[in-house]
Amino acid sequence: MGARKRYFFTAGGLILLLIFLVMVARYAHRANSSSSFENTKVKGPKGAPIQMVIYSDFQCPACRGAVEPVEELRNEFSDVIQVEFRHYPLEQTHPWALTAAGFAECAAKQGKFWEFHDQLYKEQETWAHAPEPIVFFARYAQESGLDPLTLERCLEDPKTLGQIRLERSIGAKQGVQSTPTIFLNGRPLVGPLQLKAQGKNIVLEELKKLASKLRQ
């Protein structure tokens, strides 16, 4: 066999092997990534046909940028979208993200998650650059009407951190690498630009799929 043929077949064989390995790894990754757990940080109709799961970091500016497009999508399709928030603090680049998540998780336990969530993002520019953001978190907690003793106990409870870490690890298994990552019926969108460009189309496609399933 000439050298050229040997090179051709070797290259072809290596490329096919790499394609096979990547396919196997992707399949294994998907098989391990499905999981469900109890999460009270949801809003919208229960059992809605469109499930929007948002992995977010409270200190992330792009996450703040996604708040408005999420709300616009939710308002436009209010009867069919349920939104679920999951923590994904990027501690390496956002040193106060975990603390903010802790306060938000404790607000969730007192039924005030979304008010606290909105406040954190609205005031992100203020607290994210402050020397002691905890002062701001405590103030927002007071303004949201959270019971201070219950809040303190919750912040000290290891289960609170455990819940945040659980949500983060589930996100990592699902392939989340940056925030915000939004899953619309399992289809990922990363960042507010992708959400704005494709979110509505994905919702409409999913509703069409559902409609054709119901017709069958």
Partner: protein, 145 residues
């Protein structure tokens, strides 16, 4: 000297294998978001680059590690590195909000400055490899017998 060249070849190849692999096993939307952050191309080119580049990194990284089409592979990877360095410099000059380079998925987080330093070093090594003929422990040597 041959041992050093072998180590250099495997190192550069392994960097690109890891880079390509980590992008390929996670949703393509992650790498698309990274490309969007550099603000140098628009759709539909973003999707095309996000699909094609990780495969090229994996394929030519593997080729280089195995010493297969060594000069071609190191030339291609040197071109990639030159483009990455240009984009990193551009993002730094324009103060683009690129918090981390997005080079290796979530496995290794590098700031643009760190990535610039690393890529420059790898480019030097890769350019040395472009000029080398097939040596021991390389598929090129076996196939050319």
């Amino acid at each position: 000297m041959p041992f050093i060249l072998l180590a250099m070849r495997i190192f550069v190849g392994a960097v690109f294998v890891y880079s390509g692999w980590s992008k390929l096993i996670s949703p393509i939307e992650n790498f698309m978001a990274v490309i969007e952050g550099y603000q140098f191309i628009k759709q539909p080119y973003i999707s095309t680059v996000a699909f094609v580049l990780p495969w090229l990194e994996l394929i030519f990284g593997t080729f280089l590690s195995l010493g297969f089409l060594t000069r071609v592979s190191s030339t291609v990877l040197s071109i990639f590195l030159a483009v990455f360095i240009t984009l990193l410099l551009r993002s730094l000059m324009l103060h683009l909000p690129v918090a981390e380079c997005g080079c290796f998925g979530s496995g290794i987080i590098l700031t643009p400055w760190q990535a610039l330093f690393l890529d420059s070093g790898i480019l030097v090594v890769s350019l040395i490899l472009v000029r080398q003929r097939p040596r021991w422990l390389s598929l090129d040597r076996i196939l050319n017998r």
